[in-house]
Amino acid sequence: MADPMKIRAQMKGDTAEIRVLMSHPMETGQRKDNAGNTVPAHYIQSITVDVGGKRVIQGQTATSVSRNPVFGFRVKGAKAGDKVVIHWEDNKGDKRTDEATIAA
């Protein structure tokens, strides 16, 4: 079971600044463990972000993203109190959804 994300969302003028930290190994499939065996690829492959009930980001990611990645984005037109819902799924079918409220 995946560990929770850390989401920060705050208004800066008329723009919401949203940052999210995700807990994920993001294995590239190229790394070898101490015994010399290749560690199978294990990575987040899709991310969605909904703000105030609207889908604002729908994206695909791959193995070039780091372990425990940080994503940041700015959303125009959102307002304080809007709910931010972030969801990811990885190539092994594991998934995680977390939410936060945009602070003033």
């Binding site: 703000v51 780091s66 700015r74």
Partner: protein, 286 residues
């Protein structure tokens, strides 16, 4: 309706691309900064400090802090006990400020313990963790950050921006300080090194790495800042006990047992020396 939503992903791309490089070079030593000339007081280190400050805002250490908090608050031992019963020196269950008040004497065990040792002690006693398992993998690696490392990260974070105040009242606390001071200065092994060989003088470096003079209060705090730390090269949390362990490796000594009296004593010496300085909480390391 006017509410059109736009987005900018540039920030995301920037933040992640660095960390990718960091992960891929996990097995190699940190690259030497050949381009910048560290002619005067280490320009390279200053640049790296700036970079680190930017990253502190979204330090993945927070993920481990959150996990540790969950274990501390919600996990139960086999007999229904929990970390609420764990006394880190400021009363049962009190976490706030505890990290900067250790190492200290604990009457229940009749000995001085540093923060990591005390946390592990409690996790064994109240949550039923197996000491053998913890000793099998005391430190994080690219495959696993053990639970106790997350709990220590949580405990350390609850002392963020507080002043180091390791007590020197109990005779055993004074003894730990004095023994630690001797361990710090003890030269032995094939290279004739002591801790002081690298950390006993002002303004020295190994390669481009600045070395704090740990005998001085304003520099001894640097042995605390950034620990526990998220290591970008590899992506896992490392604690102060790991830092001590790896110093002894480079000192060409045999390996100190995890959570041993020697390390507690050494930490007591270094912590007391740093007393009065402000601890900034878990950090990020290259």
């Amino acid at each position: 309706m006017k509410q059109r939503l736009g987005m900018l992903l540039a920030a995301a791309a920037l933040t992640t691309s660095f960390a990718v490089h960091a992960q891929q070079s996990a097995k190699k030593a940190p690259p030497a900064a050949k381009a910048a000339a560290p002619a005067n007081k280490s320009e390279v280190s200053k640049e790296f400090e700036k970079f680190r400050e930017v990253l502190e805002e979204d330090n993945p250490a927070e993920l481990y802090e959150a996990k540790g908090e969950d274990i501390w608050k919600n996990k139960k031992g086999p007999n229904g006990t929990s970390m609420a019963q764990c006394d880190l020196g400021l009363g049962a269950g009190v976490v706030k400020g505890a990290y900067v008040h250790m190492p200290r004497y604990f009457a229940d065990v009749g000995q001085v313990m540093d923060a990591e040792r005390r946390v592990v002690h409690c996790m064994i006693k109240y949550l039923g963790y197996s000491e053998a398992d913890i000793r099998k993998q005391p430190f994080s690696n690219v495959n696993k950050t053990p639970d106790h490392v997350s709990v220590i990260t949580y405990v350390a974070a609850q002392s963020r921006n507080m002043k180091i105040a390791a007590p020197q009242k109990h005779p055993k606390e004074i003894e730990a300080y004095n023994i630690g001071k001797e361990i710090f200065a003890y030269r032995a092994g094939p290279y004739d090194f002591s801790c002081a060989s690298c950390h006993g003088e002002d303004g020295k470096r190994i390669r481009t790495q600045d070395l704090p003079n740990l005998r001085k209060p304003d520099e001894a705090i640097r042995a605390y800042q950034g620990w526990p730390g998220y290591r970008m090269t590899g992506g896992f949390m490392l604690t102060q006990q790991w830092r001590m362990n790896d110093c002894f490796r480079q000192q060409r000594f045999p390996e100190p047992s995890y959570l041993s009296d020697s390390i507690t004593a050494l930490l007591a010496y270094m912590t007391v020396t740093a007393n009065g300085q402000t601890y900034k909480g878990p950090g990020i390391k290259r």
